[in-house]
Symmetry: C3
Subunit: 388 residues, 3 copies
Amino acid sequence: MSSASAQVPAPAPAPAGHPAGSGIPVLGVLSPFARIAILGTIGVSALAIALDFGLHVEGAAVFVVSATAILGLAWIVGLSTERLGAITGPQVGGVLNATFGNIAELIIAFFALQAGLITVVKASLTGSIIGNLLLVLGAAILAGGLKNGLQTFSQRIAGSNAALLVLAAIGLFIPAVFAVSGEATQGQRVEESVLIALVLMVGYGLALVWQFTNPERTLGGHGDPEGHAGPAWTGRTAVGVLLMAAALLAVLSEILVASIEPFIEQFGLSQLFVGVILIPTIGNLAEHLVAVQLAYKNKIEFSMAVAFGSSMQVALFVAPVLVLLGVVVGQPMDLVFPPLEIAAVGAAVAISALVALDGESNWLEGALLMLIYLIIAISFFELRLPAL
Amino acid sequence: MSSASAQVPAPAPAPAGHPAGSGIPVLGVLSPFARIAILGTIGVSALAIALDFGLHVEGAAVFVVSATAILGLAWIVGLSTERLGAITGPQVGGVLNATFGNIAELIIAFFALQAGLITVVKASLTGSIIGNLLLVLGAAILAGGLKNGLQTFSQRIAGSNAALLVLAAIGLFIPAVFAVSGEATQGQRVEESVLIALVLMVGYGLALVWQFTNPERTLGGHGDPEGHAGPAWTGRTAVGVLLMAAALLAVLSEILVASIEPFIEQFGLSQLFVGVILIPTIGNLAEHLVAVQLAYKNKIEFSMAVAFGSSMQVALFVAPVLVLLGVVVGQPMDLVFPPLEIAAVGAAVAISALVALDGESNWLEGALLMLIYLIIAISFFELRLPAL
Amino acid sequence: MSSASAQVPAPAPAPAGHPAGSGIPVLGVLSPFARIAILGTIGVSALAIALDFGLHVEGAAVFVVSATAILGLAWIVGLSTERLGAITGPQVGGVLNATFGNIAELIIAFFALQAGLITVVKASLTGSIIGNLLLVLGAAILAGGLKNGLQTFSQRIAGSNAALLVLAAIGLFIPAVFAVSGEATQGQRVEESVLIALVLMVGYGLALVWQFTNPERTLGGHGDPEGHAGPAWTGRTAVGVLLMAAALLAVLSEILVASIEPFIEQFGLSQLFVGVILIPTIGNLAEHLVAVQLAYKNKIEFSMAVAFGSSMQVALFVAPVLVLLGVVVGQPMDLVFPPLEIAAVGAAVAISALVALDGESNWLEGALLMLIYLIIAISFFELRLPAL
C-alpha cells in the first residue's frame, strides 16, 4: 500500500466549499488561510531582499522583516515535509521529519557560524533546547490543561524519552565541564569537540534506528495526529516547494545574520539574549504552534514528542553538525558552553523529565514551566554580557 | 454547611475526663498538656523580655531563652490557625495555613534583615528548605517506617508535588547561577532579584489557585488527618490568640536577632551555621513534630505534604516577600545564594523528589535522609566562614 | 536447613561428563574452563612476580602482566565468596558478598594510597562508580535488549535502589562542594572527611541491616540467578582458596601500583585517565562480565543489582575505609574530589536513576549509556592533566 501510493501519489481532491484554485496548482489545494500565509511569506521575503540588497537598509528593520519571512518559510518547509512524509509512509517520513525538523535553525546557525558569531550560535543551541522544554512544553501543557483538565499519558514511554533526552544533554555538555578543569588549548578543545560530535552523531543514528523499529514505544508513535498529512500536493510539487523554500530560507538567513550586530547595537541587547531567546523563536515558532495546538486537542503525547524530539535533535544532530561545519568553513567551534547556559539547560531537562515521569500534566505545571522560562529570559536580558 | 458553621462556630465540648477549666476560657477547652505548654510559653517569653529589657543580659542566655519562647509561640500560632481553618472550611483554611505556616520564620527573618544580617537571612531560607526535606521528611519516614513497615502513597500525586517543588527551587536559584557569570553591580542584582521575586509570587498565587480547585490532587488533600481541627475555641478567641501570639513572636524575634551576634562570638560559630541549622529549627520545630507524628500514625502523605508544601512556600513566598521588604526597609537583599547553599538545596530537592517518585518509603530512606542532613550540618559547622 | 548445611557442607558431585579431577581437590570439582582459568591466573601471577622481583623489569610489561593476574584473582575471590555464601545461607552470604565484592579494588587502592598516589586513588573511586553505572549497566542493557527485546522490571524496587544510590553519591560528594567555598586547611579537610567517612559507614551498616531484613525489596532479591552457588568446594577449601587468592592479590596489587608511574610516563597518559578508566576495569572486570551475562539471560534486575550495589558499596564502604586507612598509614586523604569527577559521577547517577525509574530498558538506552562512558573516557584521555 504505502509503496504503491509513493509511486502514484494521487492528490486528495480539494475539500468541497473551497474555490477550485487560483490557477497555481501549488496553492489550489490549500485552505484560504494557508494560501494567504504562503503568499504573505513570499511578499515579506521579497521585501527583506529588497531592503537589504536594493536599499542597503541596516539594523532593526531588516532584522524584523527577515525574521518574519523566516517564520513563514520554516512553516512552509514543515508543510512540504509533512506531505512528503504522508506520501512516502511513516518510515521515510520519520527520516524526513528528523532531517528537516530543525532545518531553519541549522541554516541560520550555519550563516552565523560563517560570520564568526560563535557566541550567538552556541547560545541558539542552548536557547532551542530551553525553548522547546520550557516555553513550548509549558504552553502546550497550560493550554491543554485549561481546556481538558488533567491530562495523562504513558509514564513509561514519557519516562523513556526523558531518559534519552537526559543522555543527549549530558553528552553535549560534558566537554564544558572538562574545559573548566583542564588547561587545554583552543586547538585541543576543538579536537575533543570533533571527536565527541562524532560520538553524538552515532547516538543520533542509533536513536533513529530504534524509533523506526519501535514506533509503538515512541511518544505519540501509536496513532496519528489529525492534519499531519500536509496539503494535498503531488510528490513532485512537494519536493519543489521544499527546495524553493529551503533556498529562500538560506538567502534570508544570511540577511538576518548580517543584521544581528547592528540590531544588537541599536537596542543595547546582548549577543546571549539574541542567541538564547530570539533566534530559536524565529526558527521554531511554527513547530511550537503545532505543539500547543495538539495539546489543546488533548493530544498531549504528541506535544511532548515534538518538544522532546526537537531538543534531542538539537543535542545529537544540529550541534555536532555545526562543530563539523565549523572546521570546514574555518570557524572552529568547540562544545564548551558557558556555565549559565549549562545551568539553564540542566534545569530545563531536569524539570521536563520530572513532569514526564509522573505520567500526568495539569495547567499549573505548564504555567510554572513558562514562568521558569520567563525568569531565565529576564536573567539573560539583564546580563548584557559582552561577547565572550 | 461550612458557611453556616463559620457564622455560628459552636465550640466543641471539652472531652470528658478533662477538668472543666481554670476559669480562663482560652485554656479551659485545652488538654492538660496544651494548657501547661501555653502557660510555660508565656512564662518563658516574659523571662526573655525581662532578661533583655530589664537586666540587659546579652548573648547565649538570651538567645536560648528567646528561642525557647519562639518555639512555643510558633506552636500556639499553629493551634489558632488550625482552629480558624476548621471553623472557616477547607478553602479559607488553606489560605490561612499557607499564610501563617511560615510566619515565625518570616518574622525572624524580617528582623534579621532589618539588622543587616543578610547572610543569616539567606542561610535561614536555605536551611528551612533543607530542614524540611531532609531532617523532617527523614525523621517522618524513619519513624513511620519503623512503626508501620513499608509505607506506600500515590506515586502520581507525590511526583507531581515533587515536580512543583523542583520548579520552585530552580526559579529561586537561577539568579545565583547568573551572578557567577555576570559582571552585574549589586544594584543590578537587586533589580533583577525584585523582578524575579514578583515572578515567583505569581507562581505562588497560581499554585494556591490550583490547590483550591484541585484538592484531591494535593498530597493528603483527600482526607483529613486527626487532630487537625485545633482546640475548641470560638472564632473570636482563635483570632485573639493568633494576634497576641504573633505580636509576642515579633517582640521575641527582635530579641533573638539582637542576641545572634554575641551568641556567635561566644561559641565561635559561623553565621552560616546559625542561619542554616539553628534559625530554621527554632521557627519550624512545632510543625516538624506534627509531620513526624503523622508518619508514625501511618499518614505518610500528610507528612510529605507538610515537608513539600513548607519548602515550596519558602521558595515562592517567604523569599520573594523578604526581597521586597528588604527594598522597603533599606536593606536590599538579592537572591544570589552562595554555591554551597545551592548545592545543599539541590541535593535535598533531588533526593526528596526521588524518594517521592518511587511511591513508597521505608526506614532506610528516612535514616539516609537524616544522615545527609547530618553531613551537611557537619560541613556548615566545620566551615566557620567569615560573614560574606 | 541452612544452618544444618552450614555445619555439614556436602560438596555437590562433579557434573557427569567431567573428568574426575586432576588429583588436586580444589580443581577437581571445576569445569574445564574454570580449571584452565585458575591455572592460567596462577601462571600469570608467577610471571608478574618474577618480572618484578627477579628481573627488575619496569613499566608497561609489568603493568600489563600484573593487571592480567589481578583480573583472574578477583574472579577467583568471587568464586570462593559465592561458594561460601551458598554454604552459609543468604544472610551471611550477603555480608560476605558485600565485604569481598570490591576487595580487589580496595587492595589496589590501599597500595596506591600507601605509595602516595592519592589522585589515582580518588580517581579510581570515581571511575568505579562511573564504570558500574555507565559501562557495565550499559553493556548489560544493550546485550539484554538486543537478545530479549524490551526488558521490564519493578519500577518501585529499582526506583528505591536508585534513591539509595543518589543518597550515597550525595553524601560522598558534599565535602567537595564545601571545599570550593571554604578556606579550610588541608588538616581541617581531612578532619571533616574522617567525620563524614564515619557517617557514611553508619549509612552502609544501616543499608546492610535493611537488605537482610527486607530481601524481597532488594533488586533481584526475590529469586536466585543460576550459577550463583559457586564451585562445589567444601567450606574449608573455599576459605583456603579465598585467603590464598586475597594474599596473592595483595602482592600483585603492590607490583601493579609500583608500575603505574613508569607506565604513565611511557605512554604519556594522565594519572586521572589511569585512575578513572584503567584501575577500576582491572579490579571489576570479572564482576562486570557476570552482570552482562545475567542481562543476556533476561535477568536484568540482577544486572542492575550488581551495578547499583557495587556503586553504593564504593561510596559508602570503600571510600570511607580508604579515608580511615589513609590516616593510619600517614597518607591522609580527604574526600574533596575534583569538579570533573563530581560532574561525571553526578551524570552517571542521574542517568542510571532515570533509566531505573521508568521500569523498562531497551538496547538504545544501553547503547547511549556506553556512548556517554566513551565521551567521558575521551575527555579524561584528552585532559592529560598534571597530577593534582
